[in-house]
Amino acid sequence: MLTDPQDHLAHQFPLEGELRPTFSGLSDFLHRVEDMIVKELAKNAKSHAFDGFDVNWEDQNETVSCKHRLQHLVAQEKGLHVTSISWSCTGSVIACAFGRVDDGDWSAEKSCVCTWNLDRRGLNPKRPNTVIDVARPVMSLSFHPTSPSLIAGGLYSGEVVVWDTNRTQDPVLAQTGMSTDAHREPVYQVAWVPGQRRGEMLVLSAGSGGRVLLWTVDGGSLVLSAGYALVRQQVPHNSSLSKGRGSSNVGVTSLALSPWDSDTFLVGSEGGLVLKCSFSAQELAAAPPDGESVALRAPAQFSFSPRGGPVHSLHYSPFHRNLFVSVGTDGLARLHSLLQPDPLLSLRVSDSYLFGVRWSPTRPLVFAAATGQGLVQIFDLGRKSLRPAATMDQLTSGQPAYCMEFNPCQTDLLAVGNADGSVNIWHLSTELTEQGHRETAQLEQLANEVAE
């Protein structure tokens, strides 16, 4: 008869100080096995029987190779850049957003979102499976974490849209439109966050207007559910901030959600700020009200030491709750602990700008950085040398690589979106994807070091 183990646990893991239930024969049993177990433990601790013994369950992949080079000719002809990419939750589909990252008034430029199903037979890298036409450049993209057909996107105009690729007629499921609640400036980051009710997902959008907004899907509209405004005067000071010109809004260029703590998120700004924020912050934002239907709150709680230029990408470590990495225009990758303002480590990745950074989903010590010269550099913090463990040339004739995402299911695939309008799918070597023996411990050691 099967009993639910959870019920028994409630009774049988007593708290300190309470009497433990007696089990007849338990003492005798332990008496019988103790010697044998201790003998084996001692032998094991000294044994060299398994030294250097490795088992190959998977095919060993020696090299890093480019599996696919995806292109949408129409977008390339218009000179559009890939601004953002996202994998579907099943890991089969890659979506990319087209827009432009350079300066200039191209707000009226039409663009699109394309998807390719890499697992489908007859994949044509030059022909996307789906092309969604969008009236304005798309700056950010995010697939829904459980519904493989829903994609959220942030536009240059400040609008946020959710598309359903299953709909044949009009793929737009919901949008913010140009309401008073919407962003007025480009939306550089969109993400899906869990809502209050079970199974509910909200769309989070953040942009250069300094607003971080949460939307619910309601009929054909995205309705503002909560909002935050980042204002310079409300940023916690613990190091000197450069006196910026003009607006007191802190323009958001990157955002990272914590996989460890659903209340915390990180924000990187145009001015080089890196801020730790909280969804449950109560303080009202000092921004003048602009007809929003929800009172905006000030989310920033902690400032990390600022950088010399816009922070393009942030990523929490999937293996350590206090670590994150940030990159920006200064060409450095900075490894931070959430517990202190100064970085633990600053790595010179490139002489050019860095646009993206992602931790490996399988190797705690490995992260990848995308450079303005069209290279993706992979670093292994376990190595003694600070030189990259691998360099992947995106073959863009020197044009930048803007965004990167690891496949959530096939974790040895890395997609990179480039300024020349191409998306390269890379297959990483076993060395870069198979976790080493003491990696988590080494990462823990790194995290506990205090910066000078």
Partner: protein, 96 residues
């Protein structure tokens, strides 16, 4: 009962031991040094595996029986000492 706790403590403090779990005949953990969810996972899975290992040994030779089970993985070694009423599971990180 102090004897039980002392024995378990001696085992737990041995070099490299990550966790110690005692499981009853139904596969339900009754003592552990690990957190709840990890304990439940180990207890359930190893109970099943130990029963399978035991029936394998006895199918090959009905006069034989399982005395000890060890699983060596990349990260550590799991040792199971089975018995009629209880099972002791010890997870060790061997020296490298």
């Amino acid at each position: 009962m102090a004897e039980v706790e002392e024995t378990l403590k001696r085992i737990q403090t041995h070099e490299g031991v990550i966790g110690t779990i005692v499981v009853n005949a139904e596969g339900i953990p009754i003592r552990t040094t690990l957190d709840n969810s990890t304990t439940v996972q180990y207890a359930g899975l190893l109970h099943q595996l130990t029963m399978k290992a035991r029936s394998t040994v006895r199918d090959i030779d009905p006069q034989n029986d399982l005395t000890f089970l060890r699983i060596r993985s990349k990260k550590h070694e799991i040792m199971v000492a089975p018995d009629k009423e209880y099972m002791l599971i010890v997870i060790q990180n061997p020296s490298e």
